[in-house]
Amino acid sequence: MLGRGIFQAVFGEFLPILLLMLVAAVVAGAMVTLSWVLGPKKDTPYKSSTYECGVTPVGNAIERFPIKFYLVAILFVLFDIEVVFLWSWITVFKGATIQYQVFSGVAVGIYLVLWIIGDAYVIKVGALEWDEEPQVAPEKLLPTPVEAPTIAAGSHS
């Protein structure tokens, strides 16, 4: 009684929805838990192997893949954001006064110049070249050291 009153006070008209969510959570949780608890677990190598269209799986699923995917993805996200910026700006730009158009035009112009410099940098360091090792220019790499110094010969771990 008292409990209901508090719930009513706190959640108001959303109480039924909350109850529905609770019921759903309990039912779903019960289904998963019960099947995990009650179900027989007979582990065979074949059973625990990865299902791969009926073909015997090859290699490990957790393996490293080229970071270039990541690099390209992140550059894509940046372009995306740029478009979002420009889009919202252009909608306001259309109906604005001339002062605002000049002001915001300059601001966005600065932004775009920075953007282009960034692009140039990306291209220059070869971040988009798929086959090449994207890295700094070879001139920058100093000749490799003669040998790594043997520090404290053996006593140093």
Binding site: G95, T97, V125, V136, K140, L142, I151
Partner: protein
């Protein structure tokens, strides 16, 4: 919709230092892009020149009145200018010893310079705005650049580890910060600290604003490495390349402290809620930092813990200034920041000598005999560590003295006593570093050190001049800084674009 209301006053002069630093970074990047020569001397030269110009323009503004421009986004006041000067100077000193270090460690990453410049710019933005969005923007600019820099030594797994840890935990902290800002916005319908202060002052404290404030404190506390948000510090400090560590220790701490001060002042009316909290945080930060440093055996790690302890000392100064407005000013804290930046960067600069031909060991064992190899640098190291301990004549002593007195005068004697006891404890591990640098020289297989270059010696000299000069001329320096007040700008109506905007759309 009247969008013309959105055209803010543009004060390029107020923004000049920030713009100069950013543009220097861009120019440095373009140079690096166009002529990738074997050495980065041009990049370093341009960067240093840009920092010099930025510092000069900041210096020129020091006397001026404080005002806000860009629709309340940019605040131009004395406190911010002083902190910006400290950051610009710190960045420049880091650049001085970075080039030999990068070469010695074979890190072909001239992007260090532009990234560090942008990071500095982010820090400058953090302390020169009372707008939470700007603070957040500055914080991210500072942090993201630092994440890249921490992982700059790509063939060292500890550097990568450091970058990843810093990034993951940093974004976690940023999430807290953003959430807190959102809560506060929900309560006050503004992101401007002046306006927030007004709204919070008018109404009684609500759960929304207090929880929001606590979350913002979590985010800023992370950057400042306050206990209990400090765990990342030793790991990141140890793993990152030494020049980046030096940069991180100085610039990011100054920026975070500036933002924290502005934020605490803005939520001043909630002080019954947060003051005891920050009191305990200060106690814990000083104590945990010092005690944990006692058992370290890596110099960079020890200095990492020591930087935690110093954040605690700084917080004591901030709390003292807050609790006795008018009587106790932020001078002590600002002075301590300057001396802290000088002595920390100096210490890391000397430690960067342990890099020799791609290898770098920074354990106590690895700095043996530094005294014989690089007497000037080792001598400077002794002075920097004396300053960190708080031996008189060095600025570290006067910084502690001023904070100590501020705490006493503000009626926080317990904090003052804890500070004194902690600084006595810290003697132990600083002496350990000195001992390591001096003792057991000329073994058959001594560690190898890089040859101390002229620019590193210069960096040491600059820090030495800072440490000793600030100590000897403490009075004139503090008077030159003036009372670093962080009160709201007088006579400037608070413009808040977002409040206006919400009003417009609801019309």
């Amino acid at each position: 919709m009247n969008v013309n209301a959105l055209i803010p006053t543009v004060d390029w002069r107020a923004l000049a230092p920030f713009t100069i630093v950013v543009c220097t970074g861009i120019v440095a990047l373009i140079i690096e892009m166009l002529r990738p020569r074997r050495n980065n001397n041009l990049v370093v030269g341009v960067s240093l020149f840009g920092l010099l110009v930025a510092g000069w323009s900041l210096f020129g503004m020091l006397g001026g009145p404080s005002d806000e421009s860009f629709a309340g986004m940019i605040l131009n006041d004395r406190f911010g200018q002083i902190l910006q000067l400290v950051m610009v100077g710190s960045c420049a000193v880091c650049f001085l010893f970075s080039e030999p270090y990068l070469r010695e460690k074979r890190i072909p990453f001239a992007e260090f310079y532009p990234l560090a410049l942008w990071s500095t710019a982010g820090g400058m933005l953090m302390v020169s705005s009372k707008h939470l969005l700007m603070v957040f923007l500055g914080l991210e600019l500072l942090s993201i650049s630092l994440y890249c820099l921490a992982g700059m030594s790509r063939y060292e797994s500890k550097s990568e580890e450091s970058a990843l840890k810093y990034f993951l935990l940093g974004s976690f902290a940023s999430a807290f910060l953003l959430m807190g800002i959102a809560f506060i916005y929900g309560e006050t319908a503004s992101l401007h600290l002046g306006r927030i202060s007004e709204v919070l002052g008018a109404a009684s404290a609500s759960p929304l604003s207090t929880i929001g404030a606590a979350m913002v404190l979590v985010g800023l506390g992370f950057k400042l490495a306050l206990v209990p948000f400090h765990q990342w510090t030793p790991d990141v400090y140890q793993g990152a390349p030494t020049n980046v560590t030096a940069f991180m220790a100085a610039v990011s701490k100054v920026a975070a402290l500036g933002a924290l001060v502005r934020f605490l002042w803005a939520i001043g009316t909630l002080d019954t809620v947060w003051f005891p909290l920050m009191w305990w945080v200060a106690v814990a930060t000083m104590t945990v930092g010092n005690l944990a440093a006692l058992v370290q055996n890596d110099v960079k790690r020890t200095l990492g813990y020591s930087s935690i302890a110093h954040a605690g000392y700084l917080l004591v100064g901030v709390l003292a200034a807050f609790s006795a407005p008018g009587r106790v000013s932020l001078d002590a804290t600002a002075f301590y920041l300057i001396s802290y930046a000088a002595m920390t960067i100096g210490a890391f600069a000397v430690i960067s000598l342990t890099a020799s031909g791609q290898h770098e060991g920074t354990r106590f064992y690895d700095v043996r005999g530094l005294w014989k190899r690089a007497p000037w640098a080792a001598g400077c190291l002794v002075v920097f560590l004396c300053s960190l301990i708080g031996i008189p004549i060095t600025s570290g002593f006067f910084g502690k003295l001023l904070i100590f007195q501020a705490a006493f005068d503000a009626g926080l004697p317990a904090l003052a006593v804890l500070l004194a006891v902690n600084s006595a404890i810290s003697t132990y591990y600083y002496l350990g570093i000195i001992q390591a640098a001096f003792v057991t020289e000329e073994g058959a297989v001594a560690p190898r050190f890089g040859k101390p270059s002229a620019s590193l010696n210069l960096a040491c000299a600059v820090c030495l001049a800072g440490v000793l000069g600030a100590g000897l001329f403490a009075g004139p320096l503090i008077r030159g800084m003036g009372t670093a007040e962080v009160g709201p700008p007088v006579g400037v109506p608070v413009q808040d674009p977002l409040t206006i905007h919400t009003k417009n759309t609801s019309d």
